[in-house]
Amino acid sequence: MKENWPKIVGFLLLLAAVLAVPHFLQFHHQDLLIFLVINVLVVTSYRLVTLTGEWSLIHAVMMGVGGYTATLLFRGFELGMWFTLPLAGLVAAAIAALLCFPLFRMTQFYFLIGSFAAGEAIRLCWIEFIIPFGGTGGLSGVEPPFVFDIDFLEPIPYYYLTLAIVGLCLLILYRIENSRIGLTLHSVHWKAPLAESVGVDTWRYRALAFIVGSFFVGVAGGLKVHYLGTINPNQFGIGFMVFILIWVIVGGYNRFYGPILGVVVLTLFDESIRQFEEFRPAIYGAVLILSILFLPKGLESIPARLRSWAGGGSDREKGKLTDG
């Protein structure tokens, strides 16, 4: 128990910083902060999908499924956010469950392409079926909740609300990953035949990770549309999907916090080079290439590297660099 206190103190400090940060920011940055917290949920839920070793290209579209669900429920049935968020997750999970049947007949590259095609098919529905999805222009008029005189249209209250919901979702995802289910997902990833030989139904576990991951990204989509107020198909295209992949790869995907580190650091970085305008994509790209070259295991591997330099490589012998 005693050796836990640095962790507890660290967590409390982090919590204090996260709670205090919007008060030091301008309006524009408060907006970005909210989207950052939502994107933390996007990458963490994506991590659950990748635990089985399958990298899908449909995660961004699943976020859109959640967003459109929340939008239609809000506009059509005047349901508040407390109902639209869980339903956004459930609808995304249900569509993911249906897609399991065709998609999980494939693995690796075929799965990657298959998931992309399925995602584009869904996105095309949003474009082509103007009723009810609004076509390329999308839909608008979605509002955040209004409770006890707190107007969640203001960024700071909505930030705290988002923080609480995303925090709860992260806790659930963390518990899943650190339970027996997480261990089984790892086993499906690394040695599927061995896992099968002791009775693991690999199809079921791949499907489980995909469905649960889609649920949480659906919730993230709902959170986003309730703040932004509008939704359109281009928000969830391959461009956003590539950003998700970049965040996860640059952050590192061997630990729970890796993708979170990736999305936070890269978002801050992207903001800090805003003044360079036309050079921004080039700088961003260069940093990506450098980080992949020099930190193939992602930002999360930096502490272990520092430790191994400081300790003359003694951690390497203990396997600290290779675990996880």
Binding site: R175, L183, T184, W190, K191, P193, A195, S197, V198, V200
Partner: protein, 253 residues
């Protein structure tokens, strides 16, 4: 033969034009160590994959405890109590020894999503951890429980592969070349372990090229050659069977 746990009933497996197994018949008694031997390419591993559900026989039937299992998925067959170990060392290299065996407990320790999130089902998880300790003790791996599988010496890696299989509480274990690449000391140790597994009540079918191990362990041998059943008998009978000698020496003897 009384009380067969496994019956192979004229099993044929074709891959396109290639017949890997041709009308093979044999059955395995509960409690024995059966050797399945033959020259390279005789169809031994193909037979294992058919039994374990990784392949489906083209024709014929495989029965386990009287029930047909051909065409079932590997995890369903594992569920019924058949476990296979793999050629070479197939382990979860990046997990610890303890975690490797914990994966093996899947059949008895799996949990649903809600139990995982809310931390229910502690009793079963504790029971699984105890089972892992028992198996590690049994296989002599208890001291290495926190080591990564990748860091173990060869002998311990093979023992761990068997430990994972044992954790699933099988009735029938299919062992695919567990002695390959071992030095005499490791071979002796592995033979002891294999006997102890049998004494704990598990039937074993052993595919192996190491004749010392096969002759020392198995009470009865089944010999395959070019996908066909060549001979069956005690190690003594098989050793002196002219057809077997010809098959191994390519007819030159």
């Amino acid at each position: 033969m009384d009380n067969p746990i496994l019956e192979i009933d004229s099993v044929t497996k074709r891959f396109g034009g290639l017949t890997a197994l041709n009308e093979v018949n044999f059955s395995v008694k509960a409690g024995e160590i059966r050797g399945l031997i033959g020259p390279n390419g005789a169809g031994k591993s193909t037979m294992f994959k058919n039994i374990a559900g990784f392949y489906t026989p083209t024709s014929g039937d495989i029965r386990y405890q009287g029930r047909s299992i051909s065409g079932l998925k590997p995890h369903s067959i594992a569920e019924m109590g058949i476990v296979r170990t793999f050629q070479e060392t197939t382990l979860f290299q990046e997990l610890t020894v303890f975690e490797n065996v914990l994966v093996g407990c899947h059949k008895h320790a799996r949990i649903n999503l809600f139990a995982a999130i809310f931390g229910l089902d502690r009793a079963r998880q504790t029971a699984a951890a105890q089972k892992v300790e028992e198996v590690l003790e049994f296989m002599g791996l208890a001291d290495r429980r926190h080591q990564l599988a990748a860091e173990l010496p060869l002998g311990s890696q093979r023992a761990l592969a068997i430990a994972i299989a044992l954790a699933s509480e099988p009735k029938l274990m299919l062992m695919d070349e567990p002695f390959a690449g071992m030095n005499p000391e490791e071979t002796n140790h592995m033979m002891d372990l294999t006997r102890r597994v049998q004494e704990s009540g598990i039937t074993i079918v052993l595919v192996e090229h190491d004749m010392k191990a096969v002759m020392g362990l198995c009470g009865y041998l089944t010999v395959l050659n070019f996908g066909q059943l060549l001979a069956e008998g005690t190690p003594e009978e098989v050793r002196n069977d002219k057809r077997v000698i010809d098959a191994y020496l390519g007819g030159a003897a």
